[in-house]
Subunit: 401 residues, 2 copies
């Protein structure tokens, strides 16, 4: 695999346009009754047409057998080696609620939890308190002051919140206070390396004060922190690929991931039709578009096979809104598989189709897991999707003399 | 991928013979009228017989989506990771005209160019002056003397020449004087690291004197230099693979690349028939042969689909001259694709067939791009061709205990 610096040396600007449609959790597993996955079950004439015209394959987002989180799944598709470029849990939480991170901020995922009189954790999620209660308690925690750093406590959903520390000399090199089990006390935060000392001290100070503030709010009478992390400060797609990239995503986390690599975020309605319409309206302004569709993942996570099939059929029905724009390169794939049968992300390789005037067609005529396995792209790592897209858009020059 | 040191540990000498036939620019793109590539269009019963007997796949010379220059394309086939082992532009230029490089030499690609009265470049190729004029001007430039280094100025073709600096303490760590655009002045050569200081100084001295020498020779009244580089000093195939390798190539650049890895260069006529005949005559003397056929690439670069088809058919017709020798391992592939439709090197994966008594046959019956995609080698990196060849020649022992 070329390094980003090596790729940077061979990319050049051109008017050609690339559209990357990410169908979240695209891949699935066959329903035993039919032997067909969600994608194989869905009636998808437009995706099948793409498969017929283009080239297909199966992509592993991170590595064979590895189930990716949303961050590595997307970073790979954006061309960033997901094994090298890591996004911490805290940062992802911040991206997920559109929190405006500054350079140097340390973010951490927080849970309200329940502790008994001896301080032992009895419920790591505080009975999943309501989001409203969460907001009230976060307001109280926000009043805590720490010496040497600003502090933000922002509610997420139910028992989840975001803690951000802002100040000089912070680092993500601090251990979790969340022991990930009940029947024990929360842990002290410790510095994982010397650079984490100040962060650990601030976090422990916050935890002491939070315990005091929350003492009377059973079941949410304590908090757990995990995933201390800093903004990864990635080189932008503009620097590496010389693209002017834009993102269309209804969910904040995916907008956040796009922001990490310097994409412009386009305002959009939240339905697939509205997202595709946003693409059409802004098509003249950018040369790279990332469009994220969420529903296939959430229905997969719900274990709702039929709903995922319907979500795929809706995307297929609307696909002509994209193909009508005639992008020089159109890629349709997912950031990972979410089989309804597993009710969660999985490690299964993800179907990919790449359609361009300069692709050498293969024999694949249907867009599905088994058919893509026979495509000419073979089985490959998702981090190669961007170089392939750039090549087919004629935006790469020769490597080496 | 194993390192060369790791490979070295498991190779051993044996009488078995490997023949690697490199059909330059082998892969293509389908002609819209027929949907068939050059190779799929060509009548190639002998290659198809190899595909039937052997195993097939599609190789990416460098990485998915990456278009290789000739050097990375060949180094990969010789078993050298083309991302790690780089050959500079200047060195390739020297290899291309059979210039005898010495260790420590710094080579640079030169262009005659035109500058106006203010010194701004108006034509980076000096109106593509004739090769004869080039030779005359190079003779004049050869008379320039530099303090601390010998200097060679050797004509190539039209506006292109080779500059070689020979002396102590030189390095390729010097920037181009060629700004790769018109309307600006040539750049000063600067040291990219401390080791490039002497080279940069010598190059700038040469450029100052060249400007003076050429002042009256409009349109070739200045020169541009780029790709300062040194001989990469690769471990030889003898060291790594314990082979006694020979190269048969009508074009100097490919002989030069073969020399880089220590192959013996066999004198040969320039037709395919003469090249194959050279193989037969020297067959007893070596256990590895690299044969390079150029015409498929040059016809591809010319955009001449039919001529490329004919070149492929000629190779196929003569192939029995090779198979009659019954090599233990015969591999036919290319260093990259050169689709006539793109008139140049491309990133498309290259068909590979490997034929040996010890290959486990697959279902492929025709040697073509789509059929090879379905072969049992799958889609793989070209750097694995040599380990596969060595394995099938029973020249590798077990890796690890």
């Amino acid at each position: 695999m070329l390094s980003l610096d090596q790729i940077k040396d061979i990319t050049h600007e051109s008017p050609s346009k690339i559209v990357l449609l990410v169908i979240d959790g695209l891949g699935g597993l066959p329903r035993p009754e039919t032997g067909k996955t969600e994608l194989e079950t869905a009636h998808t004439p437009n995706l099948d047409m793409l498969a017929t015209k283009g080239i297909c394959g199966l992509a592993d987002p991170v590595s064979l057998g590895i189930t990716p989180g949303s961050a590595p799944g997307h970073l790979a598709l954006f061309g960033y080696d997901p094994i090298k470029f890591l996004v911490g849990r805290g940062i992802l939480e911040a991206l997920g609620i559109d929190f405006e991170l500054k350079k140097g901020d340390v973010a951490s995922r927080g849970n309200f939890c329940t502790v008994d009189k001896r301080g032992l954790i009895t419920d790591r999620r505080a009975g999943r308190i309501s989001t409203e209660q969460n907001a009230e308690l976060c307001k109280k925690l926000s009043r805590i002051t720490l010496e040497g750093a600003e502090l933000f406590v922002v509610p997420v959903k139910e028992h989840r919140f975001l803690l951000v520390l802002r100040g000089e000399g912070l680092s993500g090199e601090a251990s979790d206070s969340d022991p990930q089990q009940t029947g024990v006390t929360p842990l002290n935060v410790t510095a994982l390396t010397a650079s984490g000392k100040k962060t650990a001290k601030l976090a422990n100070d916050f935890l002491t004060k939070a315990k005091w503030v929350l003492a009377d709010f059973h079941p949410a009478n304590m908090v757990l922190l995990r995933g201390f992390s800093q903004h990864p400060d990635l080189p932008t797609m503009k620097e590496i690929f010389k693209l002017n990239p834009a993102a269309i995503a209804a969910y904040p986390m995916y907008r956040g991931l796009a922001k990490l690599v310097g994409m412009k975020i386009l305002e959009t309605g939240s339905t697939v039709e509205e997202e595709f319409d946003t693409l059409a309206r802004h098509y003249a302004e950018h040369d790279f578009f990332f469009i994220h569709v969420k529903k296939t993942d959430s229905t997969g996570e719900d274990g709702d096979f039929d709903a995922k099939v319907k979500a795929l059929e809706e995307i297929d029905r609307l696909l002509p809104m994209i193909t009508a724009l005639n992008p020089d390169v159109l890629i349709v794939t997912g950031d990972h598989s979410t089989p309804a049968l597993l009710k969660g992300h999985s490690w299964h390789a993800v179907p990919v189709v790449l359609c361009s005037k300069w692709s050498r067609p293969d024999h694949v005529r249907e867009f599905g897991e088994i058919t893509c396995a026979g495509g000419s792209l073979g089985r490959f790592l998702a981090v190669h999707v961007m170089p392939l897209a750039m090549a087919h858009a004629l935006k790469l020059t020769k490597f080496g003399a």
